[in-house]
């Protein structure tokens, strides 16, 4: 049989973004793959070096367009460490609220895209409809539906509007009922099980070797979740379980994500209760003095350096909806960060593509990559 290379991408329904998967096929079988990324490279790390600490937040929303608030949280945690700032506790709870709602939004969006790859058309719209409720909530307290710009160094921009928590609880109740529908539409159908069982298998050992994290790793039976293992923010005070499944295949990833949705709802109920009981400030009192008017003309050059502003290194890692994201901010005492480096979980998950794609059918590429949950904005940065 003769083999041939086909380019799946950069414009292809499977890619969910702008990247290219080169596949060598033999009939319908995959013999080799070579992912090519970089079509969406905007140089966010470079641009950040020319921006004030707060202005970088606008870039974070564009990093991953389905998990903007999670990336804001990641950057803010790291920048605050580099600048030696302590946010108030209520701000931390608001950030966790945002991150968990973002997880729900991201996973529901993933569900929609994933079933669309399998040819299930109507659950796609159910997913988009349910995500819209989460976006409505975001709009009501951050003021935007996709690019939130909500968090600030030292806290968050504003407190919740009145009546938010009741509305949020109603939305959570509605969502929990919808998760049952999702299960019926996918796991309940024989065709889904026939297509997804034992597909795209990546065992725990390979996951660790190739740096794969997030739901893909947990679906292989490894119980690693930074929210539990290395509690950042206020996750240490919240009760939840880590979703783990056996099987390491597409169905297992589906199970892990659906369970994470339910755990997120559980976390959110606790956070909402806490927020109801503990009013307080959402912005740190003691900000570095120059953060107040960071944008105005600074006068003689280098005055900040002259003032001996403390330098610092900030490193943070969070469990983003797609996996383990890290940020490293180097503060050399200027008004801009000296260097910002982000670690995108999908970047690593995608680099292992050869391990979980070769040997399956061409028709299996969309569901397998769908279960990886590719978001190119954060791969290319």
């Amino acid at each position: 049989m003769s083999e041939m290379w086909i380019n799946m991408g950069p414009q292809h329904p499977m890619t969910h973004g702008l990247w290219n998967l080169r596949v060598r096929i033999d009939g319908e079988m995959i013999r080799d793959v070579d992912p090519e990324v970089g079509y969406l490279h905007r140089g966010i790390e470079k641009i950040s070096e020319d921006r004030h600490y707060n202005e970088v937040i606008t870039l974070m929303d564009r990093c991953c367009y389905v998990a903007g608030l999670a990336w804001e949280h990641l950057y803010i945690l790291s920048a605050e460490k580099a600048l030696h700032i302590e946010p108030p506790e209520r701000a931390e709870y608001l950030r966790v609220l945002s991150e968990e709602f973002q997880r729900i939004g991201s996973h529901v969006m993933w569900f929609a895209a994933f079933v669309q790859d399998l040819g299930l058309t109507s659950p796609f719209l159910y997913g988009m409809r349910d995500r819209d409720l989460v976006l409505d909530l975001f709009q009501s307290y951050t003021g935007a539906r996709l690019t939130y710009e909500y968090m600030r160094v030292g806290g968050v921009r504003n407190d919740l509007p009145p009546g938010f928590t009741d509305q949020a609880r109603k939305v959570l109740d509605w969502l929990v009922a919808r998760f049952h529908d999702y299960d019926q539409l996918t796991l309940g159908s024989d065709i889904f099980r026939k297509r997804c069982d034992d597909l795209g298998v990546l065992k725990a050992r390979d996951c660790v070797t190739h740096g794969v994290t997030g739901p893909m790793l947990r679906s292989a039976g490894v119980k690693r979740d930074l929210r539990k293992d290395r509690p950042y923010s206020v996750y240490g005070q919240l009760e939840f379980d880590v979703a783990v499944a056996d099987g390491a295949d597409v169905t297992a990833r589906y199970l892990v994500r659906l369970e994470e949705l339910r755990q997120s709802v559980r976390i959110l109920r606790q956070v909402l209760d806490w927020l109801d009981r503990h009013p307080g400030p959402v912005m740190a009192e003691q900000l570095p003095r120059w953060l107040g008017a960071p944008y105005a003309p600074q006068g003689r050059e280098g005055y900040l350096l002259k003032r001996n502003y403390p330098k610092g290194l900030g490193f943070s890692a969070i469990e983003e909806p797609h996996g383990e994201a890290q940020a490293y901010v180097v503060n050399e005492g200027g008004e801009h960060p000296y260097r910002v480096k982000f670690r995108s979980p999908i970047f690593a998950n995608l680099s292992a593509a050869r391990q979980y794609l070769v040997g399956y059918h061409v028709a299996d590429i969309p569901p397998i990559l769908g279960s990886v949950d590719v978001c190119v904005g954060e791969v290319d940065r």
């Binding site: 990324v37 970089g38 490279h41 140089g43 790390e45 470079k46 641009i47 020319d50 460490k81 660790v208 070797t209 190739h210 740096g211 794969v212 994290t213 490894v222 690693r224 293992d229 290395r230 003309p297 290194l313 490193f315 943070s316 890692a317 383990e324 890290q326 490293y328 180097v330 000296y338 260097r339 480096k341 670690r343 970047f347 690593a348 680099s351 292992a352 290319d380």
Partner: protein
Amino acid sequence: MQPEDVQRALGPKIGPRLVAVEAFPGTAGRVRFQREAALDVFHAVHDDLGFLHLSMVGGIDWVDRREVFYVVWSDDTKQYLFLSTDVPANDAHVESASPVWPSANWHERETWELVDIVFDHHPDLRHLLMPDGYVFHPLLRSFKLHEPEELEVKTRHV
């Protein structure tokens, strides 16, 4: 695991090529070593200390020198560990970590093309994010962005 533990475990193997193990908030420490010791440090950290998971490789351009840093994670102690080494700017190359952690592959490709640090014995050092044949290294300090339109200070009387 504390920085002292790391120092105790790595010290005998690496010897004087281990520059220091510093405390670094949120991690088990920051191991600074000379680049000649790179592979030994990687093997020691991977095999002896059990940091099986390489999360991130990156580079920083300090104009006169360049720093390569690695972030590794251990499932046993549930901690991160920073490794960092300096390379001179005019001779920026270091041993690749790919043989020890295959996940370093793409991270090193990215670091090479953005910060211009060559990784020796890398299996596949090609452009990743930038187009093939791109000769610049954008994350170097010498690579200037377009100047933003100068914000003139316009006041009422000018």
